[in-house]
């Protein structure tokens, strides 16, 4: 009895791997976007071309990557663009987006809420108000239920 209770190697076995009813998430084999191009966006912000910077920042969202660093980087770029906007221009920028764009913007806004910094919350709330006016409760529900997080 003493012999077979010494080894605790059985504790290392991952029993869930052997469960035949295990739920395996099928991820689509979509292309891995790597987030917007930081240099391009910085250039546009310096030149004052906010609308283009906005559209470029929302391109190539890192939805399918599992790499958190890529997601962090994309989030930082989008946040920089959102905070550099003037309050009056926000509405126009939101209007220029299509349905999917508004959903994507909402995802970034809520991601931004997760880590509030000094002046990000106020501007994010303004963006949220304008995006909500266009996307409605449905866009917020889609942020909550979407399994492809940005």
């Amino acid at each position: 009895m003493a012999k077979n209770t010494l080894s605790s190697r059985f504790r290392r076995v991952d029993i869930d791997e052997y469960d035949e009813n295990k739920f395996v998430d099928d991820q689509d084999e979509a292309a891995e976007h790597l987030g917007p191009d930081s240099a391009e966006v910085d250039n546009l912000i310096r030149n004052g071309d906010m609308m283009t910077a906005f559209h470029i920042a929302l391109r190539n969202p890192p939805i399918n990557t599992k790499n958190p660093a890529v997601k962090e980087r994309a989030q930082a770029i989008v946040l920089k663009v959102l905070t550099s906007f003037r309050a009056g221009d926000i509405e126009q920028a939101v209007r220029s987006l299509d349905r999917n764009g508004v959903d994507l913007l909402m995802k970034y806004i809520y991601r931004g809420f997760e880590k509030p910094s000094d002046n990000s919350s106020a501007i994010l709330l303004q963006w949220h108000e304008k995006a909500f006016a266009v996307g409605g409760l449905g866009s917020i529900v889609r942020v909550l239920t979407s399994r492809k997080t940005v």
Binding site: G136, G138, S139, R142, T145
Partner: protein
């Protein structure tokens, strides 16, 4: 628009008899109450007491006048009317989780039960043994089946599931029927075959519905989307992301129009244009009461500004007919190809009957194609 409040608790599910004089509903407990229409009101005529858990699905077969109920006690009962008493027959579903929804097939010779055991039980009556037997559809379902709907050919079954997919299965039972003719979803239909699987929407699929012809299937998903798929060599899926809260139930009222209702407490119309491949929001199908516009005193304005940072006063009262989420919608008059009246029940314990003609005339831009 008639609204009748049965009780204060939610109505879990309901079903109408053939001539729409009786409604069977579950008042959020273990029983089924049958109400008979009496003048302009409803009186309780029967109480069906057999389940040990909440009754989650009721369906009333119009021709054979049998009621099938399923509940969280993992059982289903088929009730037949003998004289003035409903007698239950137990159906062994062989599931180890709660049953969630049940539907008679169009010919009423079999019914399907969706459950939390990640499978669909298709049950039919075996004459020799005088007993209801069931066959399981298991693959490739990964989670609870929330809703079911039969195709008019009595063989295909649409199932909405918590694994974010709407699928069409074949529920062909060779002991019961002949080989079905090919449909737009495929021609080989052995039992359990997946004829169609949806993609592109996230969120649990709360409600599914075949169109009147069976060539289209619509589903409402928890990510606030409605989608329609048209059968064919390669099925075309059209989705609409709505701005409302998620919809829980959906039904076709003509071949091109759907009515869906859910957590926003009002039914909404959606129009599908096959030529353009587009699904559009047709309008809110609720006639709100005209709330009296009171002028605000200056004091109220400042109070609002102080408390809510806004000068408008938004009353926290729902203006819709139903005061809580609508959980089920059923066709009252007509059929899925041309419906003239439909009925909704919800978590506020009330039942509303909606007349399509009245709605069309009340809302000017409403067009039901």
């Amino acid at each position: 628009m008639a609204y009748h409040s049965f009780q204060l608790e939610p109505i879990s599910c309901h079903a109408w008899n053939k001539d729409r004089t009786q409604i069977a509903l579950c008042p959020n407990d273990h029983d089924v109450h049958i109400y008979k229409k009496e003048g302009s009101g409803w009186s309780k005529s029967h109480v069906l007491r057999e389940h040990n858990g909440q009754v989650t699905g009721i369906d009333w077969a119009p021709e054979s006048n049998r009621i099938v109920t399923c509940g969280t006690d993992r059982n289903a009962y088929v009730w037949t009317l003998k004289g003035n008493v409903w007698k239950p027959t137990l159906v062994i579903l062989r599931i180890n989780r709660a049953a969630r929804c049940v539907r008679w097939s169009p010919k009423e010779n079999k019914f399907a039960v969706g459950s939390g055991s990640r499978l669909i039980s298709v049950c039919y009556f075996e004459q020799d043994n005088d007993w209801w037997v069931c066959k399981h559809i298991k693959k490739p379902i990964r989670s609870t089946i929330l809703s079911l709907d039969w195709h008019p050919n009595n063989v295909l079954l649409a199932a909405g599931s918590c694994d974010f997919k709407c699928r069409i299965f074949s529920a062909y039972i060779k002991e019961l029927e002949d080989k079905p003719a090919p449909t737009s979803w495929g021609s080989k239909m052995p039992f359990g075959e997946v004829m169609f699987e949806s993609s592109g929407t996230a969120g649990w699929v709360h409600g599914v519905c075949f169109s009147g012809s069976g060539n289209r299937v619509a589903w409402a998903s928890h990510d606030s989307t409605v989608a329609v798929a048209e059968g064919g060599k390669s099925p075309v899926i059209t989705t609409l992301s709505s701005v409302t809260l998620p919809l829980l139930c959906v039904t076709f009222i003509t071949e091109n129009s759907l009515v869906a209702a859910g957590h926003d407490c009002y039914p909404a119309l959606f129009v599908y244009d096959a030529a353009k491949g587009a699904l559009t929001f047709g309008g809110k199908l609720d006639v709100p009461k005209q709330s009296a516009q009171r002028g605000m005193t200056a004091r109220e304005r400042f109070q609002n500004l102080d408390k809510k940072a806004t000068v408008e006063s938004k009353e926290a009262v729902l203006e819709s007919l139903h005061k809580n989420s609508i959980s089920q919608i059923s066709i009252l008059e007509g059929d899925k190809a041309k419906c003239s009246k439909f009925c909704t029940t919800g978590m506020d314990g009330g039942m509303a009957v909606w007349d399509v003609k009245t709605l069309e005339s009340a809302m000017k831009d409403l067009k039901i194609v």
